[in-house]
């Protein structure tokens, strides 16, 4: 940058017909995957207290035109309630309450955050029995 300034200053002082220079090359930024804001750690560790557990993932997509979906594939066949909603701070959220933790097949639960361009990010929780 400093050498460019020297060249440009020298060029304007000298009786040259013109000063040409190169514009910085713009690197096109491609579509980006959603970014998870909550949980802050990945995987997150969660201690189960009682028969139910609620997991919440919040995410935003850096591309403002993208839509987001949340897929809880580990909860197929597991009784649960799911709420997808617009959260505060411009975040999209999905909360699931597993109504009977004994029905879980694994101590790990995953949520895939998917945008409409097919980019994904995954949130994971390791569930620990108390």
């Amino acid at each position: 940058m400093r050498s460019f300034a020297k060249w440009y200053g020298l060029c304007t002082l000298l009786p040259l017909s013109g000063c040409f220079y190169f514009l910085p090359v713009e690197v096109p930024v491609g579509n980006q995957p959603p970014q998870i804001a909550v949980p802050e750690s990945n995987p997150a560790t969660l201690t189960i207290r009682g028969d139910t557990v609620t997991l919440t993932v919040m995410a935003r997509d850096p591309d403002p035109e993208d839509t987001i979906e949340f897929l809880w594939s580990d909860l197929d066949g597991v009784p649960h309630e799911q709420h997808d909603y617009a959260a505060q701070d411009g975040l999209m959220a999905s909360s699931v309450t597993v109504t009977d933790v004994r029905a879980l097949r694994s101590s790990q639960v995953r949520c895939v955050v998917l945008d409409n361009e097919g980019h994904t990010t995954m949130a994971r929780w390791n569930l620990v029995a108390q």
Partner: protein, 522 residues
């Protein structure tokens, strides 16, 4: 293309506004089969309702703090209210308190009809803690040494010790849990609940499971009848209880529940004699949306009444779950009575769920054929009150029956919502980003199609802050879930707190009871 869509949506919104197609009433679909909603044609519109009563009552807020924040000030989900719309509400969630202790019981030995207490033993199993004020139930394990470590809000509780072994005593007690409480609980020998289980011919039924429950629903240990049909349980501090005899689908025996049994000073003998009953053939066939056999689909058959079983003291429960075979058929034999048939589709199954239906099986009936609904695509634009496209609006639809599966998406930059859902009644919710100030729309999708443009309306703000408090210290409920409900428990809106525990949500006013409403319960 985007500009074209923008122009299209604005023109559509304008045309819809002129024609009244985007008016609230077009979105206010009455739930299927709700005669009140259909009969009350003279009900006021939402605007009229609000003009009549701009103070909304019976608004409840359910806060679900995150469970993975690791804070010692962990709070438990709590419902607050009622609140009027427009208020700023301060929601204080009591921090959960550690509650520890040990539970011991006395094992009894029955020998030649004589019951002898032996020794004090740990009551390994479970401890139920029923919060009296809210009715919320917490269950914690009791370990092999009789120890437990619970984390619950302060308050008055009904404690029920539920040992795993039927030879130990199920006990009930009231306890006021304060800060860092500890309880040493010796339940003692208790009093016996015993009797004999006989089949329809009067023969003893061996290997049958029997358990007692408290009136609040806590289920005690399970005893198994011996070869002569005898069982024995023990209970302490329970004036009344319910005894359940667990039936066997293989022997076509339903569960029997004996209600409001009094536990006398010397205990209580309860014999159960299964009444004779007819067995009825039941078959049904499932077809997928294309008319082909729907194989490997789970079907639940649940009796609502069984011939010869139910009276004031005794009720019955009979349930079978079967999967359809390669021809899409289930076949079984069940006790005569009235049944509900419900199809339970897997969560990732790309087909709808047939509506549950009733079957009277007092005699053999023709095998019904049930068609699984196809999927359909909801396609509409979301526009703000000025008719401009609104991105980042969450659309979620939930089944009204079956596994109550959900489907959701968010509106694109041009306001377009594309969502594949089953072609069946659904409860849907449109949640705009809170910072826009538009109201959440909650409605039933029954037969009427959605308009091409769904226009959001300015909402009435409800703001609040949720904090977990312990003594004089408090900490915000950061990024917890906030549900706003009506008095019936219907969720009107869902949002979250931010990092500081603050939340904001916009709502439309309630409708008077019985009117066509986009927020009413089914």
């Amino acid at each position: 293309m985007k500009a074209h869509r923008d122009i299209t949506i604005m023109l559509s919104a304008l045309a819809a506004a002129l024609l009244g197609a985007c008016d609230t009433e077009d979105l206010a679909m009455s739930p299927g089969g709700n005669p009140e909603a259909e009969d009350d044609a003279g009900a006021p519109t939402l605007d009229e309702a609000f003009a009549e009563d701009d103070t909304l009552e019976n608004l409840y807020i359910h806060v679900v703090p995150r469970e993975d924040d690791g804070s010692m000030l962990l709070g438990l989900p709590k419902t607050f209210g009622p609140f009027p719309l427009g208020d700023h509400v301060e929601l204080a969630i009591p921090a959960a308190q550690p509650f520890t202790g040990t539970i011991t019981s006395e094992r009894v030995l029955t020998w030649s009809g004589v019951t002898v207490p032996t020794e004090e033993l740990p009551a390994e199993g479970n401890l139920d803690l029923l919060h009296v004020e809210t009715g919320r139930l917490f269950t914690y394990p009791v370990d092999a040494l009789g120890g437990f470590e619970a984390l619950v809000p302060e308050g008055a509780y009904e404690l029920v010790a539920r040992p795993r072994s039927a030879s130990l005593t199920m006990a009930r007690s009231m306890f006021q849990i304060g800060a860092d409480d500890h309880l040493e609980w010796h339940t003692g020998l208790g009093r016996p609940i015993w009797g004999r289980i006989l089949d329809v011919d009067g023969e003893p039924l061996g290997g049958v499971e029997v358990y007692a429950s408290t009136p609040s629903g806590s289920r005690g240990p399970t005893a198994t009848t011996d070869d002569l049909g005898w069982y024995q349980l023990r209970a302490a501090d329970m004036d009344t209880f319910q005894l359940t005899v667990v039936g066997e689908a293989g022997r076509r025996l339903p569960d029997l529940m004996l209600h409001d049994v009094h536990l006398g000073a010397e205990g209580q003998r309860l014999d159960v004699h299964y009444p004779p009953t007819d067995l009825i053939d039941l078959s049904l066939t499932l077809r997928d949306p294309g008319g082909k056999n729907a194989a490997n689909v789970l079907v639940q058959i649940r009796a609502t009444r069984l011939d010869g079983y139910d009276n004031e003291q005794v009720s019955s429960r009979y349930t079978e779950e079967l999967r359809t075979d390669s021809r899409g058929t289930i076949f079984t034999r069940v006790p005569a009575g009235s049944y509900t048939v419900e199809v339970l589709m897997e969560h990732d199954d790309p087909r709808g769920t047939p509506e549950p239906f009733a079957l009277d099986l007092s005699e053999d009936t023709d095998a019904p054929v049930v068609r699984i609904p196809a999927m359909t695509t909801l396609e509409f634009f979301v526009a703000d009150p000025a008719g401009l496209p609104t991105p980042r609006v969450v659309m979620q639809c939930t089944e009204l029956w079956g596994n109550r599966r959900t489907w959701s998406t968010t509106s694109a930059a041009d306001g377009l919502v594309l969502l594949d859902v089953p072609d069946q009644p659904l409860h849907c919710r449109l949640t705009p980003p809170p910072e826009l100030g538009y109201a959440t729309r909650s409605f039933y999708l029954v037969d009427e199609p959605l308009p091409e443009v769904v226009q959001l309306r300015d909402g009435f703000p409800l703001t609040g802050e949720a904090r977990v408090v312990r003594g004089s210290a408090s900490t915000p409920v950061s990024y917890g879930m906030v549900q706003v409900m009506d008095a019936d428990g219907t969720i009107l809106a869902v949002t979250s707190t931010n990092a500081d525990g603050y939340f904001e949500v916009s709502l439309l006013p309630f409708m008077p009871s019985g009117s066509t409403s986009d927020t009413g319960a089914p």
